[in-house]
């Protein structure tokens, strides 16, 4: 049987101490965006943790999550091929911008020159050509967001998770970065799941909206 592409939730149910937080049964097709909204404490981030495989043991989870047909549940985080962006960019502060990108770039790209070229290209793509040697702490908020996006993309994820990814950016920048992320995701045909409490994020995504809590 040919498995469906995309991010599939099969009767996923997460509960904490007997209280049901999340019940989800749906598929996010490649290039589509599913927006999950809800007040804090409703379990939005818990859902993302379930997908990345970092769910705390205190939660009980039933059901399955599949990505392009693979069952994610049995895989460790690093093998799930799920990229994630948080509200903070979490650029590793001890690495240069280039080294941060190199951390994301697959080891299959072996030759040093080839790796450097890929990184330069990724930076140039978002208008940051020549930034490889910079200290991430010296970048502006928009620059950091773009580096984080490119670092994630270099790891060649097959799905994209956004955890309030734009909430720290001011309005102008927010739209700009958001468009960049969504355009890239649709161009690469990545299923996207975003968690937010901001309706403008949901509207920009244009996809289905699930409200928790």
């Amino acid at each position: 049987m040919v498995e469906a592409r995309g991010l599939r939730f099969e009767q996923v149910a997460i509960s904490l101490a007997g209280r049901r937080l999340i019940a989800l049964d749906c598929t996010v097709a490649p290039g589509e965006v599913l927006t999950v909204m809800g007040p804090s404490g409703s379990g939005k981030s818990t859902l993302l943790a379930a997908i990345t495989g970092t769910l705390e043991p205190v939660f009980d989870m039933a059901g399955r999550i599949r990505l392009d047909g693979r069952d994610l549940m049995s895989l460790p985080t690093e093998a799930r091929q799920v990229g994630i962006l948080f509200q903070d960019e979490y650029l590793f502060p001890h690495l240069s911008v280039g080294a941060n990108l190199a951390f994301g770039l697959k080891p299959e790209v072996r030759a040093r020159a080839a790796r450097r070229d890929r990184i330069e290209a990724a930076l140039a793509e978002v208008g940051l050509a020549g930034f490889a040697g910079r200290d991430p702490a010296t970048l502006s908020g928009g620059q950091r967001a773009r580096v984080a996006l490119q670092r994630m993309l270099l790891s060649e994820p097959r799905a994209l998770l956004l955890d309030e990814a734009f909430s720290k950016l001011d309005t102008g920048l927010r739209a700009q970065v958001r468009d960049l992320v969504f355009d890239t995701a649709s161009r690469r045909a990545l299923p996207v799941l975003q968690v937010t409490h901001d309706h403008s994020d949901a509207k920009a995504a244009g996809g289905e909206v699930v409200v928790l809590g």
Binding site: E78, Y90, P93, F103, D135
Partner: protein, 566 residues
């Protein structure tokens, strides 16, 4: 993967390394206390040792002295630390205090005590500065300042060394509590800085530093080396008396010494219990005070801030001036009362002892390096096992980590030595490293655990989502990001190892000569010049890693703004 199988066992192994020797050592003390020590003809069980102990006329005063000194030194140190934090945390002054910490921590206890003794004795440096021109004292006055029966100079000496330690622990706790916002809220509500800090931050901080405070209490109640130099001796505190009995040529006193050691342990447990009761009482009063809504008067606030700073500065200055005195002594020719400065300065002493330092220095560095490395390895493995396998440390198990710090050394080192001979692990460098590990490990663990656990787990999620396995995350992300606390923990562990005397002597069979064993043996000759040389060497050995822990990240991360205050 072998590590995968080792990791889940790391916490258990760590506990065994720390607790096994302590518990075995306790058994080796309990047995002779109850009359069992075949080597000296004690083959049955009896209470004779305790009867002899309770018949010793000095016992009531020795016990009261231990309790009194322990409580006074701990309470005073804690008060100074808390008020300094309440009054100054986050200010530029506080930054200066932080920078002073590591040098102060590096001065060995005994060296600090010798330094203090030379400062405050009736013939000491302070008197010399004022005599005879201001005081008229052509001869030093016959005043009981050192070794006073109430133990005041001993308390003073202990406070000067415990304030830096508690401050270090409090700083670690503060990075977790993140006081800035809460304090700003309190200040916005009209609370004074000190009052606000005490009401809002202190309860959170104290919960985190409670165990270090207990360790300080236990240490102050059972300290030996500092007490011999500064403490009273008619009678001395119980721990000192136990050591005297232990080294009495009349071997029958060994049983009494063991009984005294058991009593010392009971005394420490009693002290901890009393302290716990005081905590409850203070907490109750504190809640009433918080509920009262008192905001703290401006003048009172200023007085407290100034007072705390003066007391803290006094403690720091004492250690520094004491060390300066040792430097001068190490170069001194004849130096008599009331001269403020030696008749002549000479290099002879350094020429004589300097070349002989190389052996002990190497031994000290090798042992401290190895013990610290092993301690770091076990600590990291335990913390990483906790992280990867979700082995949440039951907070109930945490106090076990403090056991080697809380059980008085006199109560278990005798048995510890016997155990090491029984197992054949003695008489060599490796054995000494293992013995040091027992004391180094708790400090390394406690220094590193909080920053390790406070590391944002989303860094881990991000790195893993980028395709990095747990090992790569550990080596490429977590360890570099936590380099500074890692180095600080190593420096603390190193300093602890450098200062070990009895474990080195007992397990090394006297064959492993470190700076500290040499220093203690030479100090028994009473020549302040030699004591000065070795005190400086010890301080340098303990200080070097602290300096490295500050400098290395600065050099490595000179172009990484985000790592500066990590």
């Amino acid at each position: 993967m072998r590590r995968a199988r080792f990791l889940p066992w790391a916490p258990l192994l760590t506990l065994a390394v720390m607790l096994g020797p302590v518990l075995a050592g306790l058994l080796g003390t309990l047995a002779p206390a109850f009359g069992y020590m075949p080597a000296l003809g004690g083959k049955g069980l009896s209470l004779a040792a305790f009867e002899a102990l309770f018949a010793w006329p000095g016992l009531p005063r020795a016990v009261m002295l231990s309790l009194g000194v322990g409580f006074a030194a701990t309470a005073l140190s804690l008060a100074i630390v808390v008020l300094i934090c309440a009054g100054w945390a986050g200010t530029r002054t506080f930054g200066m205090i932080e920078r002073l910490l590591s040098p102060l921590l590096s001065v060995p206890h005994a060296a600090a005590a010798f330094g203090l003794a030379f400062l405050i004795a009736p013939s000491g440096w302070i008197t010399r500065a004022l005599s005879p021109w201001a005081t008229g004292w052509e001869r030093p006055p016959d005043l009981l300042i050192l070794q006073d029966p109430a133990g005041l100079s001993l308390i003073f000496g202990l406070v000067t060394k415990e304030v830096p330690f508690l401050l270090l622990m409090t700083l670690a706790a503060l990075t977790q509590v993140r006081p800035g916002q809460s304090l700003r809220v309190a200040q916005a509500l009209g609370y004074g800085r000190v009052t606000g800090w005490l009401k809002v931050i202190f309860p959170l901080v104290y919960r985190q530093i409670r165990l270090p405070v207990y360790a300080v209490l236990a240490f102050s109640m059972s300290v030996v080396d500092v007490a011999i130099i500064l403490g009273p001796n008619t009678p001395p505190s119980l721990a000192v008396q136990v050591v005297r009995w232990m080294s009495d040529p009349d071997l029958a006193f060994r049983f009494q010494a063991a009984a005294g050691a058991v009593l010392q342990l009971a005394l420490v447990l009693l002290g901890l219990g009393l302290w716990r009761l005081m905590e409850v009482a203070v907490a109750r009063l504190g809640r009433l005070w918080v509920a009262s809504g008192a905001r703290g008067g401006r003048r009172g606030e200023q007085a407290v801030r100034l007072g705390a700073l003066v007391l803290g500065a006094l403690a720091a200055l004492t250690v520094i001036a004491g060390l300066a005195g040792q430097v001068v002594w190490s170069f001194a020719g004849l130096w008599q009362y009331p001269d403020f400065w030696p008749d002549a300065l000479s290099l002879r002493n350094w020429q004589r002892h300097g070349p002989r330092l190389s052996g002990p220095v190497t031994e000290t560095l090798v042992i401290a390096g190895a013990a610290t490395f092993l301690a770091l390895l076990l600590t990291l493995a335990s913390l990483e096992a906790e992280h990867r396998h979700g082995l949440r440390p039951a907070t109930r198990a945490l106090w076990l980590l403090y056991l080697p710090l809380i059980v008085p050394q006199v109560a278990f080192l005798m048995g510890f030595q016997t155990l090491s001979i029984l197992t054949g692990v003695d008489g060599g460098r490796a054995a000494v490293v293992l013995a040091h590990l027992v004391f180094v490990l708790p400090y390394v663990f406690l220094s590193l655990a909080d920053p390790w656990r406070a590391w944002d787990r989303r860094q881990d999620t991000i790195a893993r989502a980028l395709g990095a396995g747990p090992d790569r995350v550990l080596w490429a992300v977590r360890l570099p990001m936590l380099l500074r606390p890692l180095l600080i923990a190593a420096a603390v562990g190193f300093a602890v190892s450098v200062g070990q005397y009895l474990p080195t002597l007992l397990v090394g069979a006297g064959r492993v000569a470190t700076l500290t064993t040499e220093a203690v043996a030479l100090a028994s000759g009473g020549d302040r010049r030699v004591i000065g040389v070795y005190a400086l060497a010890q301080t340098a050995a303990a200080f070097a890693p602290f300096a490295l822990a500050v400098l290395l990240p600065r050099v490595l991360w000179r172009n990484r703004k985000g790592m500066r205050d990590g």
